[in-house]
Amino acid sequence: MTLIDEPVAPARELTVLGACPQDCPDTCAMVVTVRDGVAVEVAGSKAQPYTNGGLCVKVDNYLDRVYHPDRILHPMRRVGPKGSGEFERISWDEAVDEVARRFTAIAADHGAEAIMPVSYLGTQGILNGLNVGDPFFNRLGATVAERTYCDAGSCTAYAMTIGDTAGVDPEAMVNSKFILIWAANIMSTNLHLWPYIAEAKKRGAKVVVVDPVRTKTARAASQHIPIRPGTDGALAMAMMHVIINEGLTDDDYVAAHTIGYDELVERVQQYTPEWASQETGIPVETILTLAREYATAQPSVIRIGVAVERHAGGGQTVRALSCLPALVGAWRNPGGGILQLPLWAFPVNWPAFMHPELLPPGTQVVNQYLLGQALTGQLDLRTPLKALMVYNSNPLVVAPDQARMVEGLSRDDLFTVVSEQFMTDTARYADILLPATTQLEQEDIMFSWGHLYVTYNNPSIAPLGEAVPNTELFRRLARAMGFDDDPIFTRTDEQMIAEAFDWSSPAMEGITVDSLKEQGFSRLNLPPSDEYAPHRDGNFRTPSGKTEFVSSAAAGGNFVVPLFRQGSNDHQPGQPVDPLPHYIPPRDNAAADPELAARYPLNLISPKSHAFINSSFANIEIHQRVQKPATLLINPADAEARGITTGSVVRAFNDRGSVELLAKVDASTMAGVTVCHVGHWRSDALGLSTLSQLNPTTFADLGNAPTFSDTLIDVEPVAAQEG
């Protein structure tokens, strides 16, 4: 039978401009093609100069996620035991009523602090991302969730040194003469920056990567410097030692735009290259050359990755790295300085999204890394937790202390609400499960923490099933709780978009909601990248306006930037901070704890995966095929000593737990260092556990950053153990 003559209605096809929502610095401008209401293609926008028409391995197959048969499309109530994943469908009204009833009862019986939100950056739109639940929970008086997953320690350290400045425009890096990539696998986690680095290299720049692992990025660089995990601060301090003692400083710049130079000179004397070589495992000659080339090839730039903070001295490491550019006058020229989070260039109207004034003063704060302890009575809490509401996050995979977290989430007296797109490890423990939209089904407006463009996400398809955006979820909950007496809780998405930025700020000049909707993106109104040198004449965003080698903000003690804690400034960690940068060695190492290091001689680091973003996409088949099952990279020498071969099952363990993984014997990781990428779900793991079993809950020195890279383990073949 042929259908050739049958008249076919022309398909109604349209293209919609969107924005990638993932927790990634690149915030790609997307173009979604929609035919008869169904999205048929998601591609990169060719018009956006920085993201330049490409997406990445995570999002190029976004439709596999949007239309995945496992999407949660209706509200559900748990019917089986906690964790069983057995649910029955209910209506939205029933779900919202039950949540409101339980929250109200728990608040009445135990105080509202018995309820806690758990969330992070499953989506990072200004509307639906980091702060979407903050006004609701602040008004409720729930326990404040401190979310220090990403760069919190780095932000504290960076702000203490140079203030909340955008730093370097990544597009200006084509002008850089020396590019120092520190603890970042650009090709996997910041892909759209790479062409700028490659262009600089073509123009003669030297590109150096400091990383314990010979990543793809390290292989493509001019030089790879392998470093022992957690000793980055020793290298940075020794670089300052060499630069200062060899007279490679930019004296005019130092005199005009820094404070505390004399104290710094004195401080760095103890950090000789010989000492740093012992600490880091890097030859003295390599340290000397690095310091000299970094200082003299101007403009030089340091690109730091999130990993740089993930050990006991992570904060002070970023303090030292943020001091370096001023020392050598790197800020004088476009493409010189340090690139941390250019997010600070965006005049986001954070208060309108957090509404910290609603928070009852003194409300208790719990860091999400301590959730396992908090749920199992091991944290000294004024009000023990009786309810959780999880959105934008899968804490069972992304937080440490997995065994306790499972124990806590299994508590019968804990009421857990989860809003999700998929049945994640955490969603299995929900009492009430709510369906969340993907980016194609919602409207949002995006900052970026990797470039200087605002991006708009126009919705391209109707929500699937009964899924709702997070904004609508909290509107519904607020109404059910009676919060709709305050217009904050009845704002439409459109009204929120109108509040997203300080549109009167110079950076937003010429940019409107309408222009964004139409063009999809807009570069902030800043000088063109070839002229962008914001600290040529100082103007640092510190109290002194200078780079503060001696930090005045240190006097207030250790703190977490309030953005990461619902706007709250109560119960800050507060411990005293030495105002000069210094070296804090890893906590878990042979010098600090020889007995521990004897039992667990191998470092474990857990970088971001290539094909997943944190735990997102780890359930999508094509991503699983690219990423492969959870694997432990181990150096040939360490493997041989333990009789481990590629493809065999091994057990990685320490006092906190044990994980079964496939081994890959691989010289790309240093001797003594094992590597397991983060993100695989517990439900897919060999022994129902992932590496977050092994990670410590201890914070780094600043900003309550995690210390994932400060983990010692040993590894053994599984067969031998059972044999």
Partner: protein
Amino acid sequence: MAYVITEACIDAADKACREECPVDCIYEGDRMLYIHPDECVDCGKCVTACPNGAISSEYKLAAEDERFRDIAVEFFDAFPDANGGAEDLGPVGADHPTVAAWETGGRT
């Protein structure tokens, strides 16, 4: 893990894909181009750049194109200098034997 160039590139080889690759891992043989399996970061950008629909994820290859996965691996085994950036290297000047001997006229 990588994207793979297949038969439709043979004797087309217009290099449109190479311009688009963010990591410069598409190397020029004689009759076709080859994606370095260890350097490709699976971003998919080359797929839409190819006017001939020659490029696919190795996990989405049509059955008749499956052999091009091995062809790529063997090509880079045979020419170990082809790494670290296709633009700097320029044309390799040779092909995988299967491609060199390929009869034009399309697939059977």
